[in-house]
């Protein structure tokens, strides 16, 4: 428990190092491209274009009853906020989970806080979040709707997302080194997660047992919360807020404690797995 908090604190104290490493990584990936750093912005947009076309224009009416405007941009804004937080989580978790495995050779040969590696991956993915959120806000304003009245909550949800993503990535990163097969399970979970987290379909309207259960998952909590804070207040989330919050933070703690335990007990023998 104490070690878990220590590892979180390590991220805070190493923040300058993380920022520098993120910058270095960005320069490295985009350095050889002609468009250079512009790809940081273009990449996430390209990734969501397909969803744009199919769900934004095709299935709009299915998911947005009682919309104040008939503008298709209104649904797109709704989808964009979900996409922003989801793609960010997806990228950060996938990269963060394999970060230690990828750098093992280097890290075991020098003194470097290994627990910082997932944070660096998270930092690299943050561009997706920013770009798609800005896009979503733009759509929202063009369609003539105001930002949600809950907007200060965005800070809470961002912090929650960061801690959740970090805990999950740390937890995965150790397992991934010991059990290489785990990556396919993780991939499966993350690709199904998009549908289960209600990024495209509004789970708030699912009034049955499946909907109830899906609405309790941490992924949905973050996606819905982000929308609640930026898009429009969500009565369904508000009704279940207490229980989902309890479940969310309990799972974060669980992941963090188990993840820290695994990380610490394997740190010394990571050398043998390289």
């Amino acid at each position: 428990m104490i070690n878990a908090l220590k590892i979180l604190w390590e991220q805070v104290t190493n923040l300058p190092l993380i920022i520098r490493m993120v910058k270095f990584g960005d320069q490295n990936t985009y350095g050889s491209f002609i468009l250079g750093q512009t790809w940081k912005i273009v990449n996430p947009i390209l990734q969501v274009t397909a969803y744009f076309l199919v769900f934004g224009l095709g299935f709009r009416q299915v998911t947005m009853p009682g919309a104040p405007t008939s503008s298709p941009l209104y649904y797109l804004a709704w989808m964009m906020f979900g996409m922003a937080i989801w793609r960010f989580m997806n990228e950060a978790i996938m990269n963060g989970s394999s970060s230690i495995k990828r750098q093992l050779k280097i890290v075991t040969k020098m003194k470097f806080p290994m627990s910082v590696l997932p944070s660096i991956s998270i930092g690299t993915s943050i561009w997706t979040l920013i770009v798609l959120t800005v896009l979503g806000l733009a759509f929202l304003f063009i369609s003539g709707q105001p930002i949600s009245s809950h907007w200060p909550w965005v800070i809470y949800y961002l912090i929650a997302t960061l801690i959740f993503v970090y805990s999950f990535a740390l937890f995965n990163s150790t397992i991934l080194i010991i059990i290489p097969d785990y990556i396919s399970i993780l991939r499966l979970v993350m690709s199904m997660g998009m549908w289960f987290a209600g990024v495209i379909f509004n789970l708030g309207q699912m009034n049955n047992l499946v909907g109830d259960i899906l609405r309790l998952t941490p992924f949905y909590y973050l996606v819905a919360g982000y929308r609640d804070a930026l898009f429009a207040p969500d009565p369904v989330l508000a009704r279940e807020f207490t229980s989902t919050t309890i479940i969310f933070w309990c799972s974060v703690l669980l992941l963090l404690i188990v993840g820290t335990y695994l990380h610490r007990s394997f740190k010394d023998i990571f050398v043998e797995y390289k």
Binding site: R20, N28, P65, K109, F112, N208, L253
Partner: protein, 485 residues
């Protein structure tokens, strides 16, 4: 605790245990059982090493392959911790070995950048030191080529150049100097001497006796996990060289037998041996505990107690009771909250359904009452009118629509109902006879509920006329909006 500020490195009885895993599966299983009793599968790479290093000293570590040299260096540099014993290091350490910590796909320049950043340099500092590193490494144009194209000599040159410019207090070199050519080696030695003058400590492993002789002040001779000799280079090195010659002169079978014997000793080593060593030390110390000196029993007790303590320390990362309790508590909380939430949601749904049902029945009952009234009035006036079929809900108006349209519908339906009533004003026998007996009981049961539902919102009422599942979703959204309002 050791508290010796003058020394750069102080170690005392350092041991390192590695687990030789029988299989990965077993290891995972062992790791996940919190109170494991594992079989002894350990290999002691270091069996109690004690030495000090003064500032400005160059320490050469010699020994056969697998005698624990690299383990010792890794422990000193803090890459992994010792199993037992104490290590105290005053200053930053920096380790290099052949091509260590170089990213194969990056160019030499990017590697310099990357390594320096990882060591906590700021971008400005990196920019500052970059030219001198490139110059020292003698790589010239190759600096912009990916490292995977480098020869091992070039890699070690690059590695040494980076490390030499990070300005560590303690420099640890793991066989990296054996690879470079003699020009570069002599250049490196100049650099090392420069460091020595600055009061820095150099700690290096080499298989080249000449290199050791050239720069080492003191030599640690590691021999199968033990420190065989520790002293000035000109004393230890002749011993080592003589032993090497004798050992190499032995026939191969004998050599192999000796080596496997030694390895077995390393496997059989246990924490009890450490405890016994500790006991010996306390007895030889300045003022040993009198009970320990006198009774054998007290000594045996001391050993068992100490080895228990050491055993605990040698398996440090356990999921303790507290954490386990917290984890179970968390799982329980998650499960309980999930269960209650789902359960209450289910209950709410059932309630809404019942309400709907009730209000539907109430509506039917109301209409029936009304029609009965009218009927009785009419019966007074006229007595014979042809009957027609009565349909309670106009079906075209049931299906999916927005709440606004539902409200409108409510009006329409009322109208429609009235009109129909008007049209059917003569309704007689058929309806009352067929309807009344069936609905009589329901009417009584749900009367009170029905009135509440009916009076509070007309939307719900109208909506509820729809049969079952088709408008389930809308029903609840209505309920939601009511709740919020």
């Amino acid at each position: 605790m050791i508290d010796d500020e003058e020394m750069k490195i102080v170690t005392k009885n350092v041991t390192k245990k590695f687990e030789l895993e029988s299989s990965k599966k077993k290891h995972i299983k062992e790791l996940l059982t919190p109170f494991r009793k594992k079989e002894d599968n350990s290999f002691w790479s270091l069996k109690g090493v004690t030495f000090d290093v003064k500032p400005g000293e160059a320490v050469g570590v010699v020994g056969l392959n697998g005698s624990g040299k690299s383990t010792l260096l890794n422990i000193v540099s803090g890459i992994y911790p010792q199993t037992t014993g104490e290590v105290q290091i005053n200053g930053d350490t920096s380790i290099i070995s052949i091509g260590a910590g170089l990213k194969e796909n990056l160019s030499g320049r990017d590697n310099i950048d990357f390594k320096l950043l990882m060591m906590g340099f700021t971008n400005a500092q990196v920019k500052e030191t970059m030219p001198s590193i490139i110059e020292f490494s003698e790589l010239g144009e190759f600096i912009d080529q990916p490292v995977k194209t480098y020869s091992s000599g070039m890699k070690s040159k690059l590695g040494f150049s980076i490390m030499a410019h990070t300005d560590p207090d303690i420099m640890i070199i793991d066989e990296a100097l054996s690879v470079g050519d003699s020009t570069f080696a002599s250049k490196s030695f100049d650099k090392i001497r420069e460091f020595k003058k600055q009061g820095k400590t150099i700690f290096f492993v080499s298989h080249s006796n000449n290199q050791i002789k050239e720069i080492a002040d003191t030599v640690l001779w590691m021999h199968y996990g033990e420190l065989r000799e520790n002293g000035p280079a000109d004393v230890v090195m002749p011993h080592y060289i003589r032993w090497q010659k004798e050992f190499n002169a032995l026939p191969r079978k004998k050599r192999e037998k000796y080596m496997s014997q030694r390895k077995k000793l390393q496997r059989d080593f246990s924490v009890q041996d450490i405890a016994e060593a500790e006991l010996r030390e306390t007895l030889e110390g300045p003022n040993p505990d009198p009970t320990l000196v006198e009774s054998r029993k007290a000594r045996a007790e001391f050993v068992t107690k100490e080895s228990k303590k050491l055993n605990k320390r040698s398996n440090p990362h356990r999921l303790g009771w507290v954490n386990l309790a917290i984890i179970f508590a968390l799982i329980f909380t998650i499960g309980y909250t999930a269960y209650t939430t789902v359960h209450s949601a289910e209950a709410q749904r059932i309630e809404v359904k019942q309400k709907k049902e009730a209000s539907r029945k109430a509506k039917i009952a109301n209409e029936k009452k009304a029609s009965e009234k009218r009927k009785s009035k009419k019966e007074k006036r006229e007595s014979s009118v042809i009957t027609s079929e009565y349909s309670p809900v106009p079906e075209s108006q049931i299906t999916n629509e927005t709440p606004a349209s539902i409200l409108q519908d409510a009006g329409n339906q009322e109208d429609a109902g009235n009109q129909e009533d008007a049209g059917n004003q003569g309704d007689t026998g058929n309806q009352s006879i067929a309807g009344n007996p069936a609905n009589a009981g329901n009417q009584a049961n749900t009367g009170s509920q029905a009135n509440v539902g009916g009076q509070t919102d007309s939307g719900n009422q109208t909506d509820s006329q729809a049969p079952g599942d088709a408008t389930d979703v809308q029903g609840t959204t209505d309920a939601d909006s009511n709740g919020v309002n």
